[in-house]
Symmetry: C2
Subunit: 529 residues, 2 copies
C-alpha cells in the first residue's frame, strides 16, 4: 500500500448506513455522520504544506508503538520536509500540561522496531474535564499544531472523538486521529481487523505456554494453571489455545453464554484432571483468561451485592477487627447464594475484595484467579480421592503472563502494521479530517494489498450506562462464541483433553522463512477465511 | 570437530595430576586414576563392531536433550549401521525396571532441535541401592548392551560413576558415560566449560526480563521483583543481569561471601528503591536468584535450629492447633536471633517451613522469595515514608521464571553443543572407556575447533558430609566472586541503579545474522576471555 508515490482519500462506498443513538448525535453534533475513508494511490487533495502534528501514547503498552511514530514522522516529512512532529510525554497528561519533545528522525530512528513506549512514556489520564479540554486547545494552538494522533485503545479512541468534537465546536483547526492499540485484541470491527500489539503479545505468550506444555509432558508430574492477560475479552487466551493446544482453555465469553458459576468451572477442570489421571497422566496445562471471574454469574451477583453492602456498611465493617467477624457480618447480609460464593473463597481473597479501589470498585482483578482455581480444584480432588474416585496425584503450579508481552519488539506483522498505521494517520491529517480512527482491512493479504483509511469514531460508538448515566463508548469486541476462531477451537478441543496434542510455536522469528516469520495469528486468519 | 572422517581417543597431556581422597579411592578402586581423554581426527582404536547402547534422561529438563540422543544415534550408526540405540523411559527408573523403546532414525528425527525430554521422559530416581544396581546389570546384560549414556547433572554424573564402578567390579562389560546437563550452569570445571541448556534457558529468561525492563521504563510506575530458577548457584541470575542490566541483581554467592543477613538484602533493595524514587523514578527491576535464602547467614542458622527443634518436638508442635501457639513455642526454643528472623517472616511462610519434605528437609525452596522480599521491603518503605524519608510511590509486582526455560527448543549453540556431546559419548563407548563424563573445551571458538573428549568422573569428585557420612560428589560450581563474570557485573552495576541502562536481548533467533543467532552467553565469553 505504501509503495512510493502519492495518495488521496476517497469516500468508501462499501460502508453501511449507520443509525446513531440520540445520545451520540447530541454529544457529537459536529463529528457525527462522516464518511468512511479509504487511502488510494494517486495525488489529490492532501496538504503539501508544512504541518505540525502532536503524538501521544495512551494506556498500557503494546508492541510496535514506536513504529507508529516512525511511520507518522516519515509520512509527514516525505510530504513536506519542513513538517514537525511533537511527542507529548507520559500520556495525555503531557498534552494537558504541555510537556513534549520534538521528534526528529535522529531521535526516532533508534526506536524503530523496538518494543515499549519509553520514547515518550504513556499514561492513563483522560482528556475529559472542561479545563483539560481547554488546556489542550491552548497548548496545541500555541504550538501551531494541525493535528494530534492519540495511540490508544477503545477508551482513548473515544477520548479522541470527544477532543475532536470539542475542537470542531470551538473552531480549533486541529485534527484528532486515533490509532487502534491493545494487546487484548478487543478493539476490532468491520473497519479495523486488528488492534496492534495483539499479534506479538499472543505469540510471546504462545511461546511460553508451548514451552510449559512441553515441560509438563516431559516431567509428567505437574499441572500448570496459566492465567493470561486480558481484562475483559479472552482473545489472547483463545489465540494462545489455538497455537498451543493445551488440555483445557477456559473462555470467559463461553462461561457467560452458558451461565456458568464458579463451581461449574471447578467441575470442568476437575473433570479434565480426572480423565487424564485415569489415562495415567498426572500432568497437563489449563489456560485461564485474566477476566474470567467477571463473567461468572454467581461471582458477578456476589460482587454486585458486596458493592451495595460496602456502600451502606463500609465503616462498620472496617470497625470489625477480625476477619471472622467481617465474614460473619457479610454472610448475614448476602443472599444465600452469594454468601456461599464468598465463603468458598480463600480468606486472603475474601479480605482483598473488601478493599475498594480509588474508583470505588471491588478489586476483582487483584484476585489471582489461577491460584483460586488451584485451591478449589485441589479441594475437589481431595474429596474425590477420599472417596476412591481419583487415581494418581495432583501437583499444580501457577503462572501469570502479561507484563512479559507488552513491551516486546514487534513481530514482523506488528512492525509493518504499526508503521502503516502511523503513515496512514499522517495522510488523514493531511486530508484535514478529524474524529477518525485509522482503519485497516484485508490484513491477511500481502502488505501491498492492505486497505488503509479512516473510520469516524462516532460510527463505532454505542451508548452504555456508566454510573447511572448514558455514555457513548466504543464497545470492547469480545470473543464471539459464534465466530470462526471460537468454533475452530470448540471443534478441536475435545481431542486435546486426553491425548497430548500440544504444539510449540517457539520464539518470534524475524529473519527466517516467511512461513515462520510472517505467519498471522490464527484469530485473524480464521476471522477472514 | 565433527567434520567427517574417523576419530580416535588420545590421553590428554594437559591434565594436571590429581590427589584423590581416601574415600574416593576406597569407593572407586576400579575407575579412579584414569586419564583425561581427547577426541582427535584419524582412525585408530575405536570399535567398528555393531554396538548396543542405552540412553536415559535424568533429572530436570534442559533445552537440547533430544539433540544429544540424535548425535549419539548418528555416531553409532555411522560407525556401524547395525548398531542399536535403546531409550530408557521416565529416567533411571526405566533402566531399573527395564522399560525402554528402540530408537531408530525415524523415531529420533522428528525430535531433532526440539526442546523437552518428552521423547523418553525423565525422572529423579537414583541407581544406588544394591538391588537397583543389580537390576541394571541384569537388564543391560540381557539387552547385550555395550554402553549406557546418562544425560544429567552433578548428581546423575556421580551416579554414572557409581554404576561404572559397580560394573567394573563385577566384570560387566557395559561402559557408563555421563553427559553434563543443567540449565543452572553449575556443572562446569576445567574439563567442561558449560553444561548444556544454560545458554538457551538464560537467553529465554533474558528475553523476558528485558521485556519487563522495557515495560517498567514505559509504564514508570511498577517495581518488578523477578525470581529466576537456579536452586543453588546464581549463574542464571548473573548471566541475565549481564544481558539486561536491571537496576539491581542479588547474587547468592556474594551474599554468602559478605555474610549478609536477610535484613541486609532488604536494606540493599530499599536503598536502591529510595535512590531511584529521589531521582523521580518510582519503577525498576530487581533480580533474585531462587536459592538466595539458603545463602543468608541468619536464615541458614534459623533453618538449622528449626531442624533440631522439629527433630525433637515435631509431634508436640503438630498437637498445637493455632499458628500463634506454634509461633510462641518456637520463639522460646530459638536463639534470640533466629527467633527474630522467624518472626520477621509472613505467617504463611512461618507455617510452610514447619512442613518438612519426604527427605526430612525444611522446604525453604517453597518460599516465594520475591514475595517475601516485597513484603519486607514494603514494610521498610512504609516506615521511611512515615518519617518523611521516602518520596514517591512503591508498587511492586512479583514474577518467577523457571519452567518457561527448561523445554524451549535449543539455541543454535545448544543445538550444536548437544549434538556434539552425544556424538562424543558414542566415541567414548566405542573406545571402551567407562566412568567418564563427556568433556568440552574451547567452546568460544568455532565448532570445528571445540576440544571434545572425556573426563573421568572420579577426577571431578570431592568428599562432602551428607547426613553425617562422607560422600563423594561432584561439587556444584557456584558463582565465584573472584571470577571474571562476577567482576564484570560488579564493575558495571553501580551505573545501573539510577540510570536506565536496561538492555533487551529479544527472543532467541535461529536464522538471522550470526552475531544475533550464534552469540554466546556473556558468562562463557568472560570466563574464557
Amino acid at each position: 500500500m505504501l509503495s512510493g508515490g502519492e495518495f488521496h482519500l476517497e469516500e468508501d462506498p462499501t460502508d453501511a448506513a449507520h443509525t446513531f443513538a440520540d445520545e451520540i448525535r447530541r454529544e457529537f453534533p459536529n463529528t457525527v455522520e462522516k464518511p468512511l475513508l479509504r487511502l488510494v494511490p494517486g495525488a489529490g487533495g492532501l496538504s503539501v504544506e508544512p504541518l505540525v502534528v502532536g503524538v501521544v501514547f495512551s494506556g498500557g503498552q503494546a508492541p510496535g508503538g514506536h513504529n507508529v511514530v516512525a511511520g507518522l514522522l516519515d509520512a509527514l516529512t516525505r510530504a513536506n520536509p519542513a513538517s514537525r512532529l511533537i511527542g507529548f510525554l507520559d500520556g495525555p497528561i503531557g498534552v494537558i500540561k504541555n510537556r513534549y519533545i520534538e521528534l526528529t528522525p535522529e531521535r526516532v530512528e533508534p526506536y524503530l522496531n523496538t518494543g515499549g513506549f519509553d520514547m515518550l512514556g504513556s499514561g492513563r489520564d483522560k482528556i475529559e474535564k472542561p479545563e483539560d479540554l481547554e488546556a489542550c486547545r491552548k497548548n496545541l494552538t500555541a504550538l501551531g499544531a494541525h493535528g494530534l494522533v492519540i495511540i490508544g485503545g477503545d477508551d482513548s479512541n473515544t477520548n479522541a472523538a470527544v477532543l475532536a468534537e470539542y475542537f470542531k465546536a470551538n473552531s480549533v483547526p486541529v485534527c484528532v486521529i486515533g490509532v487502534p492499540k491493545t494487546i487484548d485484541g478487543d478493539m476490532k470491527n468491520d473497519y479495523i481487523e486488528a488492534s496492534f500489539g495483539f499479534d506479538t503479545a499472543s505469540k510471546v505468550f504462545a511461546e511460553l505456554v508451548g514451552s510449559i506444555c512441553r515441560d509438563s509432558m516431559s516431567a509428567r508430574k505437574y499441572w500448570h494453571f496459566i492465567r493470561l492477560m486480558g481484562r475483559a475479552a479472552s482473545h489472547i487466551t483463545l489465540e494462545v489455545a489455538l497455537q498451543t493446544r493445551p488440555n483445557l482453555a477456559i473462555i470467559s465469553e463461553e462461561a457467560e453464554a452458558r451461565g456458568w458459576k464458579l463451581m461449574d468451572v471447578v467441575d470442568l477442570i476437575a473433570d479434565v484432571v480426572t480423565r487424564r489421571a485415569k489415562a495415567g497422566k498426572s500432568y497437563g496445562v489449563v489456560l485461564i483468561p485474566e477476566g474470567l471471574l467477571e463473567f461468572l454469574a454467581d461471582v458477578k451477583a456476589m460482587i454486585a451485592e458486596l458493592g451495595s453492602i460496602l456502600g451502606e456498611h463500609e465503616d462498620y465493617l472496617k470497625s470489625l477487627t477480625s476477619h471472622e467477624d467481617r465474614r460473619q457480618f457479610l454472610t448475614e447480609k448476602f443472599t444465600a447464594e452469594s454468601a456461599e460464593v464468598y465463603n468458598s473463597l480463600p480468606d486472603g481473597i475474601q479480605e482483598v475484595l473488601l478493599l475498594r479501589d480509588k474508583h470505588g470498585n471491588i478489586p476483582l482483578s487483584q484476585v489471582e484467579t489461577e491460584k483460586l482455581l488451584i485451591d478449589l480444584v485441589s479441594d475437589r480432588i481431595r474429596e474425590m480421592k477420599a472417596e476412591g474416585r481419583f487415581p494418581g496425584s495432583f501437583s499444580p503450579l501457577a503462572h501469570f503472563f502479561g507484563y512479559e508481552g507488552r513491551c516486546v519488539q514487534p513481530s514482523n506483522f506488528d512492525a509493518d502494521y504499526c508503521y502503516t498505521l502511523g503513515y496512514t494517520a499522517a495522510q488523514l491529517i493531511r486530508g484535514n479530517v478529524t474524529g477518525y480512527t485509522v482503519s485497516a482491512r484485508n490484513l491477511t493479504a500481502p502488505v501491498s494489498e492492505w486497505v488503509m483509511g479512516g473510520v469516524p469514531v462516532t460510527s463505532m460508538l454505542t451508548v452504555e450506562m456508566r454510573k447511572g448515566k448514558p455514555k457513548p463508548v466504543i464497545r470492547k469486541t469480545l470473543v464471539s462464541v459464534d465466530g470462526k476462531p471460537f468454533r475452530a477451537f470448540a471443534a478441536e478441543r475435545d481431542s486435546w483433553v486426553e491425548e497430548d496434542r500440544f504444539a510449540y510455536p517457539g520464539p518470534i522469528q524475524y529473519f527466517g522463512p516467511s512461513e515462520v516469520c510472517d505467519r498471522l495469528t490464527k484469530t485473524l486468519m480464521l476471522e477472514h477465511s
